[in-house]
Subunit: 416 residues, 2 copies
């Protein structure tokens, strides 16, 4: 079934806020098997809202609208919906009673604008808002379902979970007898084109599960999807495909679905009963910050050293004056000494260290912006990799952090 | 002038990533006086991309497209643009040379897909990508300007700043004789309603510059805007308004336009000729990472301590066993001891320390999730604030980091 999302609000088109509602709705709808091919955003202008809805209606079985349900004259979703469907607005008595009670409890008399929120196009129903005053609207009109939800994310989320998703899952099952199940594998240290080569026949093949490759900055993902009548039937197929993909991609697969790299590192450390410390120069604390984004990371993360100055590399990590003089702070020798020093000082089982040139300044004739050394020390010894990733300062930091975490993951899991 | 934004990418319609590019572009375009009334998102389907561009073209003077410029067969923006304008694609020799050199430096032979990135519709020009391989495209066709930018945000941002915005500013000036000049002041440690009260008469007044207040989670901004024929005429008006607003809001104003809190801290430290160290528990390295997001931060940032475990608070910062036993790690006493210990160990002029409960676990009966102590030590002594900010782990870390940096800024500038 085709779904389309329409986000309403001048604040979106002024760039004041990200439209996270649209992202959430896309994920939820495609997650149960709707196809979402288009999304539109329009300002608080009734004529344009009507036009956008009319266009969307010609293409889609379902239109989900967010925003424009508030109590101000700028909120025009109800009126636009009535106009597009030719169904006049009337006041829902039960909703009006709830709203009157809500205001009475706060000692306020609702205005005509407030009461407008209880209006619904003929034949539609209001959706209860458990954390705000604006009800949603659900309206089946001819061959199209219109659903209007309030803009504030917490109100929209609860309405989706409580009412809209169960209703839509039934619609999909009714129409197609089955719904879509997906699983995503996250890859590291491999480019999109190399991954595509290793998976070529799976990607080309219109198999079941369908397998597709997605790339975003520093991130490649493999998404498997299959339509099935039950979770267990879907899981069998997804497990089989996952096994095949993992055999081809090996250690490049670090996580599944919501699992981030920092979670994967944490899970590996917990499984090994091991602890970690981090010594950072060019990433400036980003690696430690990502590790500690995971709740419960105190079980394996002891402490981090952000040794930006040479003096602090010597004092905190015991890097020798000789290494700094002979090789400089951005060198394999310094990276190794940082990792070994951090491991020794902290008593952690694993230490990862990074030293590099984030830029845009700081390059020398033989050390360009983007040069970095990443070292991991454990009881077996120390490994060190040299990379060169020019880019913005932020890109560089992110990329180095991701690779450093991946080196830890592989080392802890015995993959390198 | 009317502008419309078209975001291309199946990953957007699967809800895998937020379309922050669209937000950024809306802000930039409305910032120089374009009207943006609509925004569309479409999947990697050539037919639909063409249709969306054709529709947008009928309404708009400018269409900015993001995404679909990569090297895979899914990347179809170039082809769609050629089809919509009837201008065939050809290869740009200079771009191809750059790409060949880029791959040669990495010892890789580019594939035919890679080389596709050097194609441009006849009459168009490629925009240089300083941090990626996908050039942008700028094409004036009949009465419409088409601009295609790569999807990765850092690549898109630099292309906008370097090439697109200066070009568009000229276009607006040409068409309207004057352009919109804006200046934004960033506020910290004050809510939207308090700021609105202090600026009430300026906000109500339809003055020149126009002044408006914007709030997003944890962030309040004051935006001044004025249309003028020249930068100097605009600057005179904006300076006057800024002075007035600063008088009312005082230390709550921390930055102007692109100036982030970490830049403001860096500028204050440079002006004072002072150095900084950071001791972090609950923020786990985020403060240090933000400080080192600023190029040149090595001039004032010496090093950071991410002391997650109690043992590391004692060993690295000299926090006494007594403090940890009597008051616990999340206490004013521990925060102060961390700041003082970090200052002493590093030799920095200023030290900031944070200790708190990021959650969702770790709360006790008298210490809830969201409790945090932020301390700043300098030669005058140590100040410490207690806050309670429940929310998600990430929200909490961001908010604590922002407030800790602001305390350093105010302390260095002698404002507290």
């Amino acid at each position: 079934m085709q779904a389309e999302i329409v986000s309403i609000g001048t604040e979106l088109l002024l760039g004041e806020i990200d439209d996270t509602n649209a992202t959430y709705l896309c994920r939820q709808l495609t997650g149960i098997g709707f196809d979402v091919e288009r999304r539109q955003t329009v300002d608080d202008n009734r004529g344009r809202i009507v036009q956008v809805l009319q266009e969307a209606r010609r293409r889609s079985d379902l239109i989900i609208i967010t925003g424009g349900l508030g109590p101000t004259p700028d909120d025009l979703t109800r009126e636009a919906l009535a106009q597009v469907t030719g169904r006049p607005l009337h006041t829902d008595g039960a909703a009006e009673q709830r709203l009157q009670a809500f205001f009475a409890a706060r000692g306020i008399t609702p205005t005509a604008n407030n009461l407008k929120q209880c209006q619904v196009p003929r034949g539609g129903q209001l959706l209860y808002n458990s954390c705000g005053t604006a009800p949603g609207i659900l309206l089946e009109h001819e061959d199209c379902i219109f659903i209007a939800l309030p803009g504030p994310p917490p109100e929209m989320h609860q309405m989706m979970s409580n009412d809209v998703l169960p209703y839509l899952e039934d619609k999909v099952k009714e129409a197609e007898g089955q719904i879509l199940y997906t699983r995503t594998l996250h890859l590291c240290d491999i480019g999109e084109s190399s991954a595509a080569e290793l998976l070529a026949d799976i990607l080309d093949n219109e198999g079941n599960p369908a397998v597709a490759l997605y790339a975003s900055p520093g991130q490649v993902r493999v998404r498997m999807s299959t339509k099935a009548g039950s979770q267990s039937a879907a899981s069998r197929r997804l497990n089989r495909a996952e096994q095949d993909i993992r055999q081809r991609l090996g250690a490049h697969v670090y996580g599944v679905d919501d699992e981030t790299m920092e979670m994967a590192v944490g899970n590996a450390l917990l499984a090994a009963g091991a602890t970690l410390t981090v010594a950072e120069s060019c990433t400036g604390g980003l690696i430690a910050s990502r590790i500690t984004d995971v709740s419960g990371s105190s079980r394996y993360f002891l402490n981090g050293y952000v040794t930006y100055s040479n003096e602090s590399k010597k004092r905190l990590l015991g890097v020798s004056e000789g290494i700094l003089e002979d090789y400089g702070a951005v060198s394999e020798e310094c990276g190794r000494a940082m990792a070994e020093g951090a491991r020794q000082d902290s008593g952690a089982d694993y230490a990862v260290a990074v030293t590099g040139i984030a830029g845009p300044t700081g390059a020398t004739s033989d050390k360009p912006v983007g040069l970095v050394y990443i070292a991991v020390a454990d009881e077996q010894g120390t490994v060190c990799e040299e990379h060169n990733w020019p880019g913005t300062r932020q890109q560089f930091k992110q990329r180095v952090a991701q690779m450093a975490l991946n080196m830890v993951r592989k080392r802890v899991m015995g993959l390198v």
